[in-house]
Symmetry: C3
Subunit: 364 residues, 3 copies
């Protein structure tokens, strides 16, 4: 893929720095159908996404090199070329300008080429690589818990757009302590705020976890587990990996045993900065140790998605967006980090170290 | 009250300067019911207002010290504490953080405290003090004409939000000459534009007044006065006191006598800057020497409010907001002040003197 | 007219430079009826347009010199004066303040005068002159093809407002090559993209033209020409003159002859910058060598307008506005001009030369 072409653009000065040599979620695979050109801005860059006839996904800069008209307003031709709606220039999947209809018989000048970006499709997601280093498919974030899952055991692959910078959403997710308050009665219980929260730092991942023993089974899990024990142990662990990929593992099991005796779900929270002040939020859940079947599975599928979407859209998003507005106000004081913010503090340190490494001159 | 806490925030540089050591109208008392947390920005500062169980009103900064979530999105507990919706920190009426549920058994660090602001409730209004000097209840603006008034002789305590800086609204009110034109046929008469306007400056108040003799009785007053004389003397005086509190006294009386032989109303116009470009406008009217009773009073009550609201919302507001847009345009010339602007010029001078005094270092 | 008064305003620093000593289209004559004051911003300046009782059109700055209230919110008096809605100051057609109702018997100070701008009405259009040089009526853009035209042979004098800077709209119009793609099937045919395009530069005008021989008659012209030849020659020429006035001449005729044997239409595209990022777009068409009559004329009149409005509003405008947004993005590369952009490149050179001449100190 034509990553080099990206460098023909002047570097942009944004206050917000982003890790570039990594994969960012761009689309749930099933939201990018064959035959369409879809526009999405990622890290402030307008991109056009499309599939060639073989179903392979591609991404190029969403502007014609001629007069900057968005290619996403153009046509995807049968041969897989994008044709600009304005003057008919055609670009292939690598961003090469392959047809200039106004100079028939003459190959288009290579300075008409536009940047293209490596994509990889894995775990039901189209990922894009915006960095200058060679795209490394071994670095795709690990969501293999979704691979080969029975669709009836998964909630909808869903999406929200938040009017807040990505770091505030990561903070929210990596902070289990807010669940007891913001999601009181749905995902948490404000009477249980003081449960012990543990933070593990493996150097390139953070795992924040929390366990309760002797708990009554919470609403959603009572549905997961017909004829459950009266009291259970329960736990949630959420893992962050750079730049902003999270996965929670939440479940209940027989007291004094381990999760293999119970049931639960993995929840993906995959975040991609759209701009410095807005975030693409991809989410989905998949159950493990499924103990139900038939219509119960379908009802749980629906409920699990509705509960999570309600929590994110109606409870998290309004607070995070208000927080962003407060932080942007001219008189805003600095936030104060507390003991519960060990997760957010530690992931920021890892990210800062990775940003410095990316900025450092490569050693030959 | 915890005024000192306010100083933990960095000073803000705004182009617009505001008098700080004075009372600003925040809410009509009956718009701040027990049991609710209400958000309102005053002088660019987001504030949360609420009442404790004893009915006393309080104001704190509308952002949790932890991650800046608005406290107005949280809960007012039975004990009078505000609980942040995000992580459950609790604050008392003085802005002290009294509960951090994530460190049970440990008193919250005092750096979690947030600013609180003195409030006083008087003349049916909740007033807030944002300055650094000690709040002085003797400085509450004088609207005692409303105290103990029969509600049937008052118009609704009403409110408008204007997309214009407060000084333009003060100019509008302190300038009786516009009434003949902008409110022609409702409050004024463009044929009477040249009536003599008098300006008194007492050093800390401005009174602009205007009297006509041998006048026919205007519409609204004909309703006030059953069986009135054929011709009357009539007059309006409007008083400004700092920073932006106005009161008009408008009436008609028997020719050659004084107001005690007639009838009229006081009109409050109480202005509070929301931001540098928007204004809270509180207004209400109360009649004096009431000469009617029963259903006539109720009809007048309704008409008086409707007439004033129409004049302010449909006539004044659109012009003042357009004026603001014109003044903000890049090519805008400076406004020119005319003879009719003596009131506006003089109040600006008093305010300028008060602002300089407030900025001056205090003498020990 | 009182052009000098315009200089009492401070000069404005805009990044975009505009030719000033020329005529800009302000209103189609029939959109400025007697008895109304109409507001329109031109070259970032808010203007108030109105007609005196004799029908002559006038323009003054749309803000009272006193407190900058828009005069377009005021009243047009029977004597042709504009009365400000706020305090009743009156201005004549030359911007002189002629009445200050608050100083009866005293002539208003001349510093109350506001700028007025020369207008001329020609070719069914009201034109305004914003420059410092004396307005020169011989410089009115030539649209005499509309003079005395039978209304049934004209399409509606129509108007669009575009969220894009004027130069992008000129580029669009002066570039015949986009028609084959953007207007494929309506005005053009993408199979014919390689037709030869010719550019003539007369020093103060650019004419871009394109001819096809052996063409089948396109849709709209089949209606123009009952019982037409099977094959025709067809052509379009579009002329630009400064600052942004365009006229196309499009028709079909018998093969190997000239246009006098066929039929076609002139299309006016008259562009006026509203602000640095928005454009007033006036358009209309008039047929030549009309070969139809009666109800056919009325049907063509309707169709010709609908087809052109659809092409401009639904095809050109969205692309040009998207182009503007892409150009404004922080990471936007520069557009690349191709062989098809000879017209746009050459008109920019002429305009640049005229701007430099206007900036140069006049030689005595």
């Amino acid at each position: 893929m034509n990553v080099q072409a990206a460098h023909t653009e002047a570097p942009v000065a944004h206050e917000t720095r982003y890790l570039k040599n990594c994969w960012y979620a761009a689309w749930w695979s099933n939201d990018l159908p064959v035959g369409e050109i879809k526009a999405r801005t990622i890290l402030n860059q307008p991109l056009a996404f499309f599939r060639s006839a073989d179903g392979v996904a591609h991404a190029v800069a969403d502007r014609c090199s001629h007069r900057l008209a968005p290619l996403s307003m153009g046509k995807l031709l049968a041969n897989g070329h994008l044709r600009c709606c304005y003057h008919g220039l055609e670009f292939d999947k690598d961003g090469h300008c392959v047809v200039n209809p106004h100079t028939p018989g003459v190959a288009p000048n290579t300075r008409l080429d536009i940047p293209s970006y490596p994509l990889v499709e894995k775990h039901g997601m189209v990922w894009v690589w915006l960095g200058e280093a060679e795209a490394d498919v071994t670095l795709v974030p690990d969501y293999k818990c979704f691979d080969g899952a029975d669709e009836r055991h998964m909630s909808k692959r869903d999406y929200l757009r938040l009017e807040a910078e990505t770091s505030l959403v990561v903070d929210n997710l990596l902070d289990l302590s807010h669940i007891a308050f913001l999601h009181d009665g749905i995902l948490g219980d404000s009477a249980k705020a003081d449960a012990d929260i543990k933070v593990e730092n493996t150097g390139d991942a953070i795992v924040v976890s929390r366990f309760n023993t002797d708990a009554t089974i919470p609403g959603i899990f009572a549905e997961f587990w017909p004829d459950p024990p009266k009291l259970v142990d329960k736990g949630t662990a959420i893992r962050w990996t750079a730049p902003s990929n999270l996965l929670n593992d939440t479940g209940v099991w027989r007291q004094g045993t381990d999760r293999s005796t119970g049931t639960g779900f993995y929840g993906a929270h995959i975040l991609t900065p759209e701009t410095d002040e807005t975030t693409h939020y991809f989410f989905a859940a998949v159950r493990w140790n499924v103990r139900t079947q038939g219509e119960t599975d379908l009802r749980i599928q629906k409920n699990l998605n509705e509960m999570r979407r309600f929590a994110f859209e109606m409870q998290d998003a309004p607070v995070i967006e208000a927080q962003q507005r407060r932080m942007k106000a001219p008189s805003a004081p600095k936030p104060l980090f507390l003991s519960i913010d060990v997760g957010p503090v530690q992931y920021r340190r890892i990210l800062e170290r990775m940003l410095r490494a990316e900025d450092a001159p490569a050693q030959g």
